[in-house]
Amino acid sequence: MTCDDKKSLVHALADGELDVIHAREIEAHIATCADCAATYAEVVALKQRLAMPGLRLQAPAHLAQRIALALPAAAPAPVAKLPVAGSVVTALAPLRELRNAWALRLQGALAGAGGALAVAACLAFFVMRVGTSEDIAASLVDGHLRSLQASHLFDVQSTDQHTVKPWFAGKLAVTPPVPDLALKGFTLVGGRIDYVRGRAAAVVVYRRRTHVINLFVWPGTEAAPEMTELSGYFLRHWTQDGLTFWAVSDIAEPELAEFEAAYRAAPGHEG
């Protein structure tokens, strides 16, 4: 029976996922195959049933309110205007409003009592936060997420290390190693230039199955935790030969460690 192979195409037909040619082919098959015709009818009926009212739920009103509150209002909060590190700090304002309402109250109380002192204290708090590895991690996850959106993944698309590496050489002061790790299960897909906290970084892009690994590289040997988890993404950090490396991905932590090991052991490192 070849009908088993056709089953998922019957579903695809009901979902409107087939192009004209395949749609015609499957329609013709359904016309002659009672089994597939029954499947098709069932799928269509189920799709209709799943459209009935009462299945889709409404978010509670207080949740909608909390989210509305988290958005910068018509008059932005003073912290949102601090001229530091862009999105990281501006995002903190709503976060704090939502999560730590007490902090705002405290801030209000302080401002009432001590005015300028309180503002200075808040500023110091934010300035201290900027530049921590946590903020770098947040910027890197931002960069990783940006890269996952269509057409942002690479500036140069190639599985050939001899194409990607010279491409960087013409653009940046630093040329990261671009080893071919296909045998280790990491496919080179390209490279791009990204900006991490206002600084240009080379990004070498690999894939593990369907998952993207962005490897950010810039000169310097900053200290940071070897492993960071942020927003469901894993970040692995290491330094080598005067370069700082950050690998960011949603693959599991041991796999990312495996990636680091494979990358560092690769012969491409000298070249």
Partner: protein
């Protein structure tokens, strides 16, 4: 003149905020817990807000659901692991799915009854099937988008969707049969 922050907030309000019910629904079906779903939805919107300035694509929904999925996974790493296979016919021991009854004025009693049962049955599908079905039927994502959100090849999306529907259909028939007998 609006400040850039305010413009972003406006864009977020127009494009992302209206998807709150969809996000909440998905979280609710996946977590089967009202409080947990609420927390996950809230966290998703906070993250979305934070990453929004970097988002320039036009497909908001897959982007938002990718974040939601990461939130759900980080809150419970085992959430998307395949369930151990149960023998066919054996009742799954499932915690109560829904805290409160569906009371919607515009649906009549029979309809909301059916919806209640169907919700229960969807909630019993293995997580991988459940999420695939929800992304397709409730959110109208394409196979390609579902593949991106769930991080599996399109072929897997197709087979999961087919399995989800088969299981749901079978469970529904079972229910109808019982209803007729009693």
């Amino acid at each position: 003149m609006l400040e850039p922050d305010q413009r972003e907030a406006e864009r977020f309000r127009t494009l992302v905020v209206p998807l709150l019910d969809d996000v909440y629904t998905f979280a609710r079906y996946l977590t089967r817990d009202a409080a947990e779903a609420e927390d996950a939805a809230q966290e998703t919107f906070l993250r979305a807000l934070r990453y929004f300035s970097g988002f320039s694509g036009d497909q908001i929904k897959p982007w938002l659901f990718t974040i939601l999925r990461n939130v759900l996974r980080s809150r419970d790493p085992r959430r998307f692991e395949p369930l151990p296979q149960t023998k066919s016919g054996e009742a799954l021991s499932v915690e109560p799915l829904w805290g409160e009854p569906v009371a919607s004025p515009e649906t009549n009693a029979t309809q909301s009854d059916a919806a209640l049962h169907l919700r229960e049955l969807i909630g019993r599908l293995p997580a991988a099937y459940r999420e695939t079905l929800l992304l397709k039927e409730f959110n109208d994502l394409s196979y390609r988008e579902i593949a991106e959100v769930t991080g599996v090849p399109i072929g897997t999306v197709m087979s999961r969707l087919a399995r989800a529907r088969e299981e749901l259909q079978a469970a529904w028939f079972e229910l109808e049969k019982k209803a007729k007998i009693s």
